[in-house]
Symmetry: C2
Subunit: 198 residues, 2 copies
DNA sequence: CGGAATCTTGAAAGTGTTCAAATCAAGTGG
DNA sequence: CCACTTGATTTGAACACTTTCAAGATTCCG
């Protein structure tokens, strides 16, 4: 038998079924309902999550009280407030289920024990973080490079499954503008057959 | 004797002087002059850099031909186009010396050999990437959270050394606005004793 | 000193936001 | 299954923030 986590690990490093089974013991499964928080800004959290099923988002509350979404996680992505998890401090970000979600959780002590027992996992997580870091840099690039309408088009072409699974309000926040403006963009783009205006 | 690289590694993982000396063999030192490129957008690059001395910036050319700076590296930071380095593809970003810089370089094959010979370095780089990823997420947070004037103040308070070492033009680009607007902000802020207007 | 790049200034034009109200969609309890 | 309540999306007008462009002042470096 092969779990999603096992499969994901095996994509990056060679691993035996026995190792995978032992690694799984460091995690515990959990279910979250739509709109439920896995992590809440300002609170202590010491868990890292692997998404087995569902969609999560990370967000925070801006100066003027809006929810600003900064990333999504779908199946086979890792998610947490890394700064809080790593340093054991209160969370800067909240993590919430957008759909009912099924995740694997690992506490900080278990994470340390896991890395000690299976040093090969250092390599796996090195790769995971390297990839996440790269993605985050590209996110910054897109924010600056594209006009808002192009950014919207880019994202909905690149991740159509994500766009379909989330409310527009949250998409607008992720893209960096208001829901009202997203409405206007959609209207404008519809007129132009899905091409940016410029 | 203890090099900056050795010291930085030792901050994260236990390491003997002998190991450190062997690790150093996988790197070669290089000097770059102000404005010289370590990596050029569109070209192949297969090196990762550790900054011993100087300031680097990463940037790309936007749709409308401007240079958009997306991050800096000062002493003890790692820098490269990670996506290009990792996948062996052409670079999306350029990396340039803002001051004369002294760096340690490692090629992709040497990196792989290093990780094979010293698996403990997987842990070190896992930590480095984890930290870089966290920083990148905070960068995105600040972009969305702060008004432009607050973002400017935040950055110049958080990294005064960096601000002093780079031209305003590049700072403006990093913060996400035009040099002209930065001029206005500085004028406005000067009138208000360094506090945001809002 | 001289040339080139950087920084400042101001006016005009865009881009995106805010606010308020109407419409639409979804989930809940009876 | 319907009626109700709540939340999400759309619309439009007024406004605010930021860019663009062009020109002048300043600084840097050889």
């Amino acid at each position: 038998m092969s779990t999603p986590l096992h499969q994901h690990i095996a994509k990056h490093i060679p691993i035996t079924p026995e190792e995978a089974a032992d690694i799984a013991l460091y995690f515990h499964p959990a279910d979250y309902k739509k709109k439920e928080n896995l992590i809440t800004e300002g609170q202590y959290n010491h868990q890292l999550f692997f998404v087995v099923k569902g969609v999560l988002r990370m967000f925070f509350i801006t100066d003027n009280g809006n929810e600003q979404t900064i990333q999504f996680a779908i199946e086979n992505w890792w998610m947490t407030d890394h700064d809080a998890f790593h340093k054991g401090i209160t969370a800067t970000f909240s993590v919430q289920a957008i759909e009912n979600a099924e995740v694997l959780c690992i506490t900080k002590p278990n994470m340390e024990a896991l890395l000690k027992a299976h040093p090969i996992m250092e390599r796996y997580f090195r790769m995971v973080y390297e990839r996440a870091y790269t993605a985050s840099l590209f996110r910054v690039k897109y924010i600056f490079d594209y006009s808002k309408d192009r950014f919207y088009l880019h994202f909905s072409n690149a991740y159509p499954e994500v766009v379909q699974r989330i409310p527009q309000k949250i998409l607008a926040s992720f893209l960096g503008f208001t829901p009202e403006y997203l409405s206007e963009l959609r209207k404008k783009l519809a007129k132009n057959g899905g091409h940016p205006i410029s």
